[in-house]
């Protein structure tokens, strides 16, 4: 099914909050994988995935570190779970000046999930590999690559439909007339 369309692979980690048992193995594995030299140390505080746990309210939310933002954001949300309200930043994965989460504990440099890209590549990100409960599941999804191409394709599809209906010659004549009248 190429149809001449360009596709790209999107890597995604699907999180099932109901399946999380709160063991934090994902944090351990992530911090070890990203240690230099690799695996030389563990430290959940360096992990690019963190399980936000409020055990007395049955809240277990794995979040992954996203892009660094140099400014605090304005789009804030308050969450209510089982009737308890959580601060606007509780479940946010962005590394930002408002808090310490997703920053190296010693240098303060931001951390970002890189899906464990490695050479040679590993089959799944480490956090997924150590989660047999499938609270974290790795999926690769094909997606159309880039917006421009989509627009070009739309026009082509439209022209193709017109040519099918009226014949290619008629469409070409119409385009020629339109271009002449525009000049005049």
């Amino acid at each position: 099914m190429t149809d001449g369309l360009k596709k790209k692979i999107v890597k995604e980690i699907k999180v099932d909050l109901d399946k999380c048992i709160g063991c934090r193995a994902c944090e351990v594995a992530c911090s070890a994988f990203h240690a230099r030299p690799k695996y030389s140390s563990t430290n959940p505080a360096r992990s690019r995935i963190r399980v936000v746990i409020d055990d007395l309210n049955d809240v277990y939310v794995p979040i992954r570190a996203g892009d660094y933002t140099p400014a605090e954001c304005t789009g804030r949300h308050t969450y209510a779970i089982n009737g308890k309200e959580y601060r606007e930043c509780s479940f946010c994965g962005v590394s930002c000046p408002a808090r310490d989460l997703f920053k190296e504990p010693d240098s303060g440099l931001p951390l970002k999930c890189d899906m464990c890209e490695d050479d040679p590549p590993i089959p799944e990100p480490m956090c997924v590999q150590v989660c047999p409960h499938d609270a974290l599941v790795y999926i690769e999804r094909e997606e159309d690559d880039g917006e421009e191409e989509v627009h070009r394709e739309e026009m082509e599809i439209g022209l193709e439909a017109l040519a099918k209906k009226h014949g290619l010659q008629k469409v070409m004549d119409a385009v020629a007339r339109m271009s002449v009248s525009k000049k005049g």
Binding site: A32, S41, N43, L56, D58, P105
Partner: protein, 651 residues
């Protein structure tokens, strides 16, 4: 650089309010590994037998295991060690969850607490910043509630908190230390309360380094799936709705009688419905794929965590239904009461009332319903009000304080500690030895590697032995020869007891969970961790060269050191007995032979005291010197006593 451990302990003196960070001797790691092992050495050096448990000089030690904070899955059990007012002997407990690894990331292998605060305090450990803080505002608060309050006031939701409830504050002997989904029982909460320490909060963000990272990860990563898939490890029973095994085999009331025929399909359906209606989720401990804890939300009770056999202990002690158990756990967990011993204390009090030993004068307004009576008694005990003051000291001491024949109702304790409510018919040789001699004070912390029962079918037996990687060779032979309704030989029984307990001493030093290791060989014979793969994990993590013989030797060393503590505090052969009616059919002559053989095998004299030779072989010369100086051993006792044990027994 130290690998797997931090190389520092935190020393807290609550009397003086001092806090020190003290470097530790790496040689002790080689000798004892960590956890309970290294704690026992610190106690040996600093807590002589003259120190009463309630003295400020008694130490309360929270130990990480050697493998905490390394990638080894399931290494998360924190050891708590002290001396117990209930037994005046060594008191050891463990709790799972997240505390130990967090403490290590904060930069400490242990917290060694001495002295007593003048008023209720809590400890806040935030990496290098450590504070003793006022906790008067937390007085009377529930154990888990305390954790939530502390995290809130510190604005540190990632902190891990271990706390006592009202029971610990009031020095109830059955008091626990509660943390997240886990509890430490068996006489440690009472000492935390005695020291006026309401809680310890920890936050750590430092690295833990391991010696051979790539090699360690290569063997750790497959363990997640292997542990998850292994049907013989984790809390197998808690995941089953069919409770027939527990309700038929364990005794109801004050460990009195089995109720065969109680269980049926309708009951199973009813109990399953109850559990499913109150369970929020299954939860796990740090870095372990097994989910052995139920988060429970019972109407009108704060959320709590239920684990292990506490699912049934209150219901069975009160002759009630499962619903009652979930209800009362919502109260007792917050008070910080041990779910094993407390139900027996409550059932014991009801028996005394029914026998007329306790009267309405002792129990004003005592309800008629056994469930309501349990709630009534719990409140008396945690406040040490009226008769609760005696009951708060456990069955053994309460019976003696109450008197008037109450002693007769103390029938299920060993070394003054309530044991599992099991009443069986025929004496079991290895179990006799484990009950009689264990320093862990409970069978669940002693049994576990050798199967509880034989396999009748010879072909199945052979197949079992063929895949039994966890077992040393000699056990394979004994298991192959073991026919149903026969006893293992004396020799086999001694070795079974020895193997079972040694595995616990290893777990309790490195911090791995018994549900993945020392407790989980007895059903199915395939524990994820065992004598033959653990040395690899330890070696790669620490850089120490270790094989299974060396690991066994360390287990023996720790066992003997803790034995020596108890011997120094007066423990002798005459104390080494199972609960009096644990078995209906006993065999005094055989019991004597078993104990003789066990002591001899252990290198202990006929009174159960490790000999000079044994101690020196284990590098415990300082123990034998102490024994000689105190007259516990004499120079002639380097060889076992010639006096026969039968003669000694009758003295």
């Amino acid at each position: 650089m130290r690998y797997a451990e931090t190389g520092f302990n935190l020393e807290i003196d609550l009397s003086r309010g001092s806090i020190e960070r003290v470097a530790t001797d790496p040689r002790l790691t080689e000798l004892h590994l960590g956890g309970q092992g290294t704690a026992a050495k610190i106690q040996w050096d600093r807590v002589p037998p003259e120190v009463e448990p309630f003295s400020p000089d008694n130490l309360l030690i929270f130990s990480t295991g050697l493998l905490h904070g390394t990638p080894v899955p399931g290494a998360n059990r924190t050891a708590v060690d002290t001396f117990s007012p209930q037994t005046n002997l060594y008191s050891h407990s463990l709790f799972g969850g997240f505390f130990g690894p967090e403490l290590k990331h904060a930069g400490y292998d242990k917290i060694v607490i001495r002295g007593k605060a003048s008023d209720l305090v809590y400890l806040w450990i935030n990496n290098d910043k450590v504070e003793i803080r006022d906790a008067r505002h937390l007085q009377g608060k529930g154990a888990l509630e305390t954790g939530a309050c502390i995290k809130e006031e510190l604005k540190e939701s990632d902190a891990q908190v271990a706390a006592i409830g009202l029971a610990g504050e009031n020095r109830v002997y059955m008091a626990t230390i509660e943390h997240a989904n886990s509890s430490a029982s068996r006489g440690v909460g009472v000492i935390m309360g005695d020291k006026r320490l309401k809680a310890i909060a920890v936050r750590g963000t430092k690295d833990i380094n391991v010696a051979r990272p790539a090699e360690l990860f290569e063997i750790c990563n497959p363990m997640y799936q292997a542990i998850y898939d292994n049907p013989y490890c984790g809390d197998v029973f808690l995941h089953e709705d069919d409770e027939e095994w527990h309700v038929n085999n364990f005794a109801w009331g004050n460990a009195r009688e089995r109720q065969k025929g109680f269980w049926n399909k309708e009951k199973e359906k009813e109990w399953t419905d109850i559990t499913e209606s109150v369970r929020l989720r299954w939860t796990a401990c740090y870095n372990c794929p097994k989910d052995c804890h139920q988060a429970i939300s019972y109407p009108g009770r704060p959320t709590y965590f239920q684990k292990c056999y506490s699912k049934l202990t209150y219901a069975m002690a009160a002759y009630k239904e499962l619903d009652f158990n979930y209800n009362i756990l919502g109260v007792t967990q917050e008070h910080g009461l041990d779910g094993y011993s407390t139900p027996q204390v409550l059932a014991f009090a009801i028996e005394l009332y029914n026998a007329g030993i306790l009267t309405d004068k002792d129990l004003p307004g005592f309800p008629s319903d056994s469930g309501e009576r349990f709630f009534y008694l719990v409140e008396k005990i945690v406040r040490r009000e009226g008769i609760g003051d005696a009951l708060a000291n456990g069955v053994y001491w309460a019976a003696r304080q109450i008197g008037k024949g109450a002693e007769e109702f103390d029938h299920n304790s060993t070394k003054k500690i309530e044991q599992l409510p099991l009443k069986l018919k025929m004496i079991n040789y290895p179990y006799f030895l484990m009950y009689a001699t264990s320093a862990k004070m409970t069978i669940t912390q002693t049994e576990g590697s050798y199967p509880q029962s034989p396999i009748a079918d010879k072909k199945e037996r052979e197949a079992f032995v063929k895949n039994w990687d966890a077992a040393p060779e000699r056990f394979k032979k004994w298991f192959l020869e073991w026919e149903p309704r026969t006893h293992p030989s004396i020799e086999a029984s001694v070795h079974i007891c020895d193997w079972n307990e040694t595995m616990h001493y290893i777990d309790d030093a490195i911090g791995t969970c018994a549900f993945l290791s020392s407790f989980r060989g007895q059903f199915g014979g395939r524990p994820p961790y065992h004598l033959y793969n653990l040395p690899n994990f330890i070696s790669h993590a620490t850089g120490m060269d270790l094989d299974s013989d060396a690991l066994w030797e360390i287990g023996r060393r720790n066992r003997n050191l803790i034995r020596a503590h108890n011997v120094r505090r007066g423990l002798r052969r005459s104390d080494e007995k199972p609960p009096e009616d644990h078995w209906k059919i006993r065999d005094t002559e055989m019991e004597t032979k078993l104990l003789d053989a066990y002591y001899e095998f252990k290198g202990w004299n006929n009174d159960g005291i490790p000999t000079k030779e044994t101690l020196e072989k284990l590098g415990l010369d300082y123990v034998s010197e102490d024994f000689l100086a105190r007259g516990i051993l004499t120079d002639s006792e380097a060889t076992p006593s010639k006096e026969t044990s039968v003669e000694k027994e009758t003295k």
